[in-house]
């Protein structure tokens, strides 16, 4: 295969690769081009490696991360961030108040702080009674977070709306509208059934850049559209055709409004 026999060309081998990769400075690049014009062997090598580069560089050679991995990494970052909120004092608190400082030093020794923080948050979400609407929102939020933490974001993982919709048949007693909003920047990730507010509901999963949007759907009498913000998550609620829709996400309120508009169209 190797056609370089000439010693001078062999010495140029590294230069040849530097030339292909655009890593030579102007002077060497020019020199090598002149050599190429005179040396068919090197010219053939360059052509061969350039063709190879195109084959390896095709986009489908690269592996793609799974949605499960994406969700887990997002959840891990959220855990780390909330551990950071809980475990690290603000700079102005760090120097004075020796008792608090000791407490922080104590906490910092424990590696299970992230777990504790997450656990505490979950207990709060589940245990704390609130007014009616608050409880539902808390439950939806807990469900959203749970869907990111376990490796179970979707039961049916596909971006094909015609696969997701029939999948719900027989699992729930209503037919949720499944639309693919990839063209609006919200690709469909999949669906699953979930349990919220004492009943089985449909959950559709969409993605906005790195963010996951869970849409919970169940039959309900029409009500007013509302939006809410809880613990940094945005929630939106609307109803349509006898179904109630709740979207929960860590994407911005702005994105959520766009999503709602696209979903409702």
């Amino acid at each position: 295969m190797k056609t370089l026999s000439d010693a001078a060309c062999t010495e140029r081998s590294l230069m040849l690769h530097g030339f292909i990769d655009g890593e030579l400075d102007a002077a060497h690049s020019l020199e090598f081009e002149q050599h190429l014009a005179a040396c068919p062997q090197c010219a053939a090598e360059v052509a061969k490696y350039r063709a190879m580069k195109r084959v390896i560089g095709k986009s489908d050679v690269r592996w793609r991360a799974t949605d499960a991995l994406r969700a887990q990494v997002l959840a891990a970052v959220e855990r780390e961030a909330s551990a950071g909120r809980a475990a690290y004092p603000a700079p102005w608190q760090a120097q004075p108040a020796p008792r608090r400082f000791d407490l922080y030093a104590f906490i910092r020794q424990w590696s299970f702080v992230p777990t504790l923080a997450a656990l505490a948050a979950m207990l709060f979400l589940v245990v704390l009674p609130g007014q009616h609407q608050g409880t539902l929102e808390d439950e939806l939020l807990a469900s959203h977070i749970r869907s990111l933490q376990v490796d179970h974001l979707t039961d049916v993982a596909t971006s094909d709306q015609h696969t997701v919709k029939p999948w719900f048949n027989g699992k729930i007693d209503f037919a949720p509208p499944v639309v693919d909003l990839a063209s609006s920047g919200f690709p469909l990730v999949g669906g699953r059934v979930d349990y919220v507010g004492g009943r089985v509901v449909a959950a559709l999963v969409y993605r906005r850049h790195g963010h996951i949007i869970n849409v919970f759907i169940w039959p309900a009498p029409p009500g007013d559209a509302t939006t809410a913000m809880r613990d940094g998550y945005n929630l939106a609620n609307w109803s349509n055709d006898g179904l109630a829709f709740w979207a929960v996400t860590d994407a911005s309120a702005d994105d959520l409004a766009k999503f709602r508009a696209a979903f409702d169209k």
Binding site: S13, D21, E80, A90
Partner: protein
């Protein structure tokens, strides 16, 4: 530790100064915006290193937690190169752990790489691609996976991720000269297997 590496990892030691209560949210937001988009690239690199989908999954998750902890001290520069350097470190940790385990099991202590089992993809990438089909991309992956790890990683970083010699030298902590000679060797080896691969005769 090379100068470059210390630039990349200066951050990890200074975590407690850099992450504080109120700043964490802002930091997490910036991290999601600028580092998370590299998740595919990180996963791909990890998988080409360890040749195993599940292991790559764990390595990348580990790497992103470490990256987030170190992110407060990240001084800028190429985010992808920075993430790759962390992924590669996590891969090395994984290798060490694996060696410790395999020592108590049968035979194959002797090398990181070449177990035929590793070549089998362990998870479907997406439902749509799980259909069995031998594409040119898969042929490329197969040839890449058969190369020794030091050559494979250089080729992946250069041809798939399109990184400069300097970035590759930083990630692999090799001198640039070594990067260049390995790249030349890697390309020769790839060309040799590619032209003898029946899949290519078909193309």
């Amino acid at each position: 530790m090379s100068k470059v590496e210390s630039r990349l990892f200066a951050s990890s030691t200074s975590r407690q100064e850099t992450i504080t209560g109120p700043a964490v949210d802002e930091l997490a937001q910036r991290f999601r915006q600028s580092v998370l988009p590299e998740l595919d690239a990180a996963y791909s690199f990890a998988r080409f290193l360890c040749k195993d989908g599940d292991a790559a999954h764990d390595i990348v998750q580990d790497a992103f937690v470490k990256a987030f902890r170190a992110y407060g001290g990240f001084k800028g520069g190429d985010v992808r190169a920075w993430v790759f350097a962390i992924v590669r470190n996590c891969y090395r940790d994984w290798m060490m752990a694996k060696r410790r385990v395999t020592r108590f099991e049968v035979t194959s202590i002797h090398e990181d790489d070449e177990s035929p089992l590793d070549a089998i993809a362990s998870e479907a990438d997406t439902p749509e691609t799980s259909l069995l089909r031998k594409t040119e991309a898969e042929a490329v992956r197969t040839v890449l996976m058969a190369l020794p790890r030091p050559l494979r990683e250089i080729l992946v970083l250069r041809e798939i991720e399109d990184l400069s010699y300097r970035d590759i030298a930083e990630i692999t902590t090799l001198p640039i000269g070594t990067v260049m000679s390995r790249l030349a060797r890697a390309r020769r080896e790839f060309a040799k297997s590619w032209s003898s691969d029946p899949a290519e005769a078909r193309a």
